[in-house]
């Protein structure tokens, strides 16, 4: 099968389905949130080992989903985003903010691991709003910190997708890509490798 630009379609052109499956699985069982680590590790392997952004360019399910919703389903205004959104200081600033929040989430997981805190069955949206999510976990063979990481990671993934959807509607389809922390990180690695 070919797409409209005449290029052959590959299995990885359908990874937008993965984005939907990921959030659906996490809705029912928070342990599935761990699968999101694939989307963190794979781009880094491509960048560190291959020195490329093949993941962003071909495999990013989130980017594909934004394109599908924004372009094919016409959910985007397709207006140019403000210049500062793709400026270096904002991109690296957002990456730093994201890494800080990731570190905070790891620390929360540690607190549950050490027994200082108990497991909180909430999904935190935009690092602020706590949404009860207790149905997604009723105990397992794993210790509580495993579930705590799931809640934290799912919150991070859901928040970033929501930000991506908002900028998709307001600006270009894949505006998220211009300041995606993974994208900034992998491009930075590639630039360092090719110096």
């Amino acid at each position: 099968m070919k797409n409209k630009t005449g290029k052959k379609r590959h299995w990885y052109d359908y990874l937008w389905i993965w984005s939907i499956i990921y959030f659906s699985l996490g809705f029912f069982n928070i342990l599935f949130a761990w699968l999101g680590m694939i989307d963190f590790i794979l781009p880094l392997i491509f960048a560190i080992v291959g020195g490329n952004k093949w993941f962003c360019n071909n495999m990013c399910g989130r980017g594909q989903l934004f394109w599908l919703l924004g372009r094919n389903l016409k959910c985007s205004r397709k207006k140019p985003a403000p210049k500062w959104l793709s400026s270096k200081w904002f991109r690296y600033g957002f990456l730093a903010f994201f890494m800080t929040m990731f570190g905070t989430m790891i620390f929360q997981t540690y607190l549950v691991f050490s027994g200082a805190n108990s497991l909180r069955k909430v999904v935190k949206l935009f690092w602020t709003f706590k949404v009860p999510w207790e149905w997604a976990y009723n105990g397992s063979i794993f210790p509580d910190w495993v579930a705590q990481f799931g809640y934290g990671f799912y919150s991070l993934m859901l928040t970033s997708t929501l930000i991506g959807l908002i900028v998709m509607v307001l600006y270009k389809e894949r505006t998220w890509c211009s300041f995606c922390p993974m994208g900034t990180m992998t491009q930075g690695i590639c630039k360092l490798k090719n110096k």
Partner: protein
């Protein structure tokens, strides 16, 4: 001749332009930025419309005849 020109300092190397280019005239050079093959580019502007960073634009180039 009108060709796609990329500002490599703004480019985020997301690859949307390569995906959309009907002539396969764009590649992501070593994960750093989009590189336009001006010999293949016909200046249609599809990439410009897709680019989320506004780094790729179609403009008159001197060398392309």
């Amino acid at each position: 001749m009108r060709k796609a020109v990329n500002d490599i300092n703004r480019c985020v190397a997301c690859g949307v332009c390569c995906k959309e280019c009907p002539r396969q005239a764009i590649e992501i050079y070593k994960g750093c930025y989009a590189l336009v093959d001006t010999g293949v580019c016909v200046g249609c502007g599809i990439c410009e419309k897709a680019c989320p960073a506004g780094s790729i634009t179609v403009s008159d180039t001197e060398e392309g005849r």
